[in-house]
């Protein structure tokens, strides 16, 4: 049995310990906000938080989150300590709306999770720090808007 919390809720699931967290979330728990993009931790579409840190769930065995707190895009707003305002979106999500970042939107769950983790650790990142930390793939090319949206929060 795998035991861990997702967005504050305890789960106990009978799955193989080596099953990646992504597929436990999507195919066992039916939480489809976290996306499958490459399966090898290259594109970042599957990014979730484990204890607040961004990880790529497509290669993370569920055994690695035993007893841990997992946050997905569905629970990001409520989980945000740094940015949480009751009833509001997380500041990153709001900036994504303000700057009209998503196009097809498929990569954006992962992009938002990666960015909110970065900003929690480093509230005012330089461009080089953004480049080093946010290497998610967006096939629609939302990168210029991602950068503007990050800067809008960082300078706020």
């Amino acid at each position: 049995m795998a035991n861990f919390k997702v967005n504050g809720e305890e789960h106990s699931i009978d799955v193989e310990p080596e099953m990646p967290l992504l597929w436990v979330l999507r195919d066992e728990l039916g939480m489809t906000g976290t996306k499958f993009g490459c399966g090898i931790a290259s594109c970042g579409a599957c990014t979730v938080h484990v204890n607040g840190n961004a990880v790529r769930s497509c290669v993370l065995p569920v055994s690695a989150v035993e007893g841990q707190e997992v946050t997905t895009i569905e629970g990001l707003a409520e989980s945000s300590v740094a940015y949480y305002e009751p009833g509001a979106l997380n500041a990153v999500q709001q900036a994504w709306i303000d700057y009209q970042v998503p196009q097809c939107g498929y990569c954006q769950s992962g992009m938002i999770m990666a960015v909110s983790s970065l900003l929690t650790a480093n509230p005012n990142p330089t461009d080089a720090e953004i480049d080093a930390s946010i290497n998610n793939v967006c096939r629609c090319g939302s990168y210029p808007r991602v950068r503007k949206a990050i800067r809008s929060i960082a300078s706020a």
């Binding site: 799955v15 193989e16 099953m19 990646p20 992504l22 597929w23 999507r26 195919d27 066992e28 039916g30 939480m31 489809t32 906000g33 976290t34 996306k35 499958f36 993009g37 490459c38 399966g39 090898i40 290259s42 594109c43 579409a45 997905t72 895009i73 569905e74 990001l76 707003a77 979106l89 999500q93 994504w96 709306i97 009209q100 970042v101 998503p102 196009q103 097809c104 939107g105 498929y106 990569c107 954006q108 769950s109 938002i112 953004i130 480049d131 080093a132 946010i134 290497n135 998610n136 793939v137 967006c138 096939r139 629609c140 090319g141 939302s142 990168y143 210029p144 808007r145 991602v146 950068r147």
Partner: protein, 738 residues
């Protein structure tokens, strides 16, 4: 704007009150039937329509797929503006996949503008330019949604509804319709101070005869169009609630992982699945003609078990083929044949021989995969004699037909459930059927929903690729550096006629193509032939500019004197990019321009070479004349998107064939531009007021040549083969300042 008399506007009452206004390009009888059926509560719909309910809420039904381009928002804006609705009261819904929602406008628009693109060909009687069967077409592609469906459908439906609501109010008030005005969902009679909401009028308006030729607004009258309105789909895309095809899930669902024949066109010979069948959750192993699939209760379990399946595929004559062999085949074809005519003007051959100076250059681009972020997938549920399908597609109606035909059902027995697309770029167009066909065949073995998922590796290796193309140029210049002859021989297929044509005033031109078909399947890829051809033509014209000793901007401007719109976008982009002014040391500007899908786009790339000899693209400045922009912000986003997509292809994109199969697997060996390598992008929309042009594709073609033209200035090396990453620029021989 004049509305053709062959178009029909129809209306009917909706159950519970309100009115439904539709518009049809096909014969009316079918739609009258549809309306009758609808009035009886059955789900039948019109080509494009809007619904007004008693509470003044307006629903716009959009027949196109939302794959990131923002057209759900822009199409609704077009209908709502003509209606004079309050935008806050407007809701957008994706129309269902039924033949009454066929996007016939798109086919009509294309046929008039360009001839028939290849992906529509099977549906169109090309010789007569006649739409033979639009009933099977609901395509999103060709940068066409706004300029065809929006202009010919959405605006017409909105304007017709507005006129009917005015007529209805004026009759109730017993005043002249010309004394009534509309705003924000209300009809007003200013003289008497009376006012009625659309919702209050809707039911009575449903009984009126719709106007045959509704009058559309002038641009000066727009209240919603032309504004940077927030996209309706974005809130769901920031909280994980947006629904994509891959997200369909039921408790009893099964998942299929598949291994297809690695060499295209070969068949499965034998399978040993004994180990796989022992794995937890595995239900069955299904053998198909060209593939084997493991079906399990979880995709990861299916995928892991598939690794244990031993397969043998038949050998074929293509087993030893490599990209080098295909390139040699293209060269041989070009050497042995003068090919078929694309465009001929004057006497290129004769003038080439007589020219003072001659130049030759051979260009090549590789196959490319689409690699949308959402891997290809399709869920099919066949039960009780009907079929249901969930798949992200650029053509729900065609998918419905395909699933029906594979499963042996009638088209009306299959329902496609709409979803957002995690990228399309041409991969999800009709005729790129592999995932649909396989998913349907697998699902035929079960009575629960089965979701077939291509892994990223499958997606990369089982795509329908952008064609690899070789293009051989010859040009002649006279003693003044004037180009007197332009000859281009390239390998086909020709998917978008005109992509290899040039806007430049050269009196003698000969553009011909030879057969470039191989065993590698090909399809439309964002901007279709324009992405390859613009790299070729805009590079070679740059070579000629340097040969003539004229700066590439001036050289183009002089040859474009009959194309003022091209000149203007070049001028705007060059000016904004600082062309001719001082740049940071080691930086250079390259430029390119191309007309595609009704828009003209110029791009200027600012590039330097880093210490490792690798090009760095700092900034791309774009100017696009798309006539005017329905939503300037989504327009700008599409230009940014098109540039990044084209830059990824130019810098890194390459699908190579080894032993008959695709060598690349996943993003590490099919690299993408990411944050660290994405340039700053500066977009200028040039509103010429001409007909609306497309926006989804026209920014992709120019960027490759803009970058390589800058690299030439920096290094003296002319990049004639993509991707750029294959080239070494560490041997600096800078021409900067020359």
């Amino acid at each position: 704007m004049k509305i053709s008399r062959r178009r029909f506007i129809l209306s009917s009452a909706v159950a519970g009150g309100g009115v439904l206004i539709g518009y049809a390009a096909t014969r009316p009888s079918r739609h009258r039937v549809a309306n009758d059926t609808l009035a009886q509560g059955e789900e039948r719909f019109l080509t494009s329509f809007l619904k007004i309910e008693p509470d003044n809420k307006v629903t716009v039904y959009v027949s196109h797929s939302e794959m990131g381009q923002g057209s759900h928002t822009a199409l609704a804006m077009m209908a709502a503006d003509e209606l004079d609705a309050a935008w806050e009261d407007v809701k957008v819904e994706q129309a269902p996949a039924t033949d009454l929602y066929a996007t016939g406008d798109m086919a009509v628009g294309f046929a008039a503008e360009f001839g028939v693109p290849s992906f529509l060909m099977p549906l169109i009687e090309a010789s007569a330019m006649k739409i033979a069967q639009v009933g099977n077409l609901q395509t999103t592609g060709g940068s066409a949604s706004i300029r065809f469906t929006g202009q010919m459908g959405m605006r017409v439906a909105g304007a017709a509804a507005r006129q009917m609501l005015i007529q209805c109010a004026s009759e109730q008030w017993d005043v002249s319709a010309s004394e009534c005005t509309t705003a924000l969902g209300y009809v007003q009679h200013n003289a008497s101070g009376q006012s009625l909401s659309y919702g209050e009028l809707a039911e009575a308006a449903a009984a009126l005869e719709p106007p045959a030729e509704p009058v559309l607004k002038d641009r000066s009258q727009f209240n919603i169009m032309g504004k940077a309105i927030s996209r309706v789909d974005i809130p769901a895309k920031v909280d994980g609630s947006a629904f994509y095809g891959l997200d369909y899930k039921t408790d009893d669902m099964l998942f299929a992982a598949i291994r297809l024949a690695p060499v295209f066109g070969t068949k499965l010979l034998s399978v040993d699945a004994s180990e796989a069948l022992q794995r937890r959750g595995v239900q069955r192993v299904i053998e198909l003609e060209d593939s084997v699939a493991v079906v399990a209760d979880n995709y990861w379990r299916a995928k892991e078990a598939l690794k244990l399946v031993k397969t043998e595929f038949e050998s074929s004559e293509n087993d030893a083929i490599s990209s080098a062999d295909l390139a040699a085949r293209f060269d041989a074809e070009l050497a042995s044949s003068d090919g078929s005519e694309d465009f001929e003007l004057g006497d290129a051959g004769g003038n080439l021989e007589l020219a003072e100076d001659q130049m030759e250059a051979s260009y090549r681009v590789p196959y490319l995969a689409h690699a949308p972020m959402e891997p290809m997938n399709c869920t099919v549920h066949l039960h009780d004699g009907i079929g249901e399908v969930w798949t992200s597609t650029q053509d729900p109606l065609a998918v419905r037909g395909r699933v029906a035909s594979v499963a042996g059902l009638g088209e009306n027995d299959v329902t496609h459930h709409p979803s957002y697309l995690g990228g399309g770029f041409g991969r999800r167009l009709p005729f790129n059927w592999n995932v649909i066909d396989h998913a349907t065949k697998i699902a035929m073995e079960f009575d629960v929903p089965v979701k077939t998922v291509f892994s990223r590796e499958d997606d990369m290796q089982q795509d329908y690729y952008r064609p690899a193309v070789t293009s051989n140029f010859k040009a002649g210049l006279d003693s003044n550096g004037k180009v007197v002859a332009w000859q281009n021989r390239y390998t086909g297929p020709v998917q978008t006629p005109g992509a290899a044509h040039i806007p430049y005033d050269i009196a003698n031109q000969s553009i011909r193509y030879v057969d470039g078909n191989t065993h590698v399947p090909v399809a439309a890829w964002r901007s279709v032939d324009h992405s390859q051809q613009t790299f070729f033509t805009e590079s070679f014209i740059d070579e000629l500019a340097h040969r003539a000793g004229t700066n590439p901007f001036q050289f183009r401007m002089e040859l474009l004197h009959e194309h003022p719109r091209h000149q203007e976008v070049l001028r705007v982009a060059a000016e904004a990019a600082g062309y001719g002014r001082n740049l940071p040391p080691g930086h250079a500007l390259g430029l390119a321009v191309q007309e595609s899908f009704g828009s003209i786009c110029a791009e200027v790339a600012e590039v330097s070479i880093d210490a490792n000899g690798r090009p760095v693209v700092h900034k791309v400045t774009a100017a696009i004349d798309c006539g005017w922009a329905v939503n300037p912000d989504t327009a700008e986003a599409q230009i940014e998107s098109g540039i990044i997509f084209g830059l990824t292809a130019a810098m890194y994109g390459e699908i190579t064939i080894e032993n008959g199969r695709v060598a690349q697997n996943n993003f590490p060996d099919y690299q993408m531009v990411r944050m660290a390598t994405a340039p700053e992008i500066d977009v200028h929309i040039v509103e010429s007021g001409e007909s609306l042009g497309g926006l989804g594709e026209p920014a992709t073609p120019p960027v490759a040549a803009a970058v390589t033209n800058a690299i030439y200035i920096l290094t003296g090396q002319r990049v004639r083969e993509l991707p750029i990453s294959k080239h070494d620029f560490s041997q600096d021989s800078s021409l900067a300042g020359v």
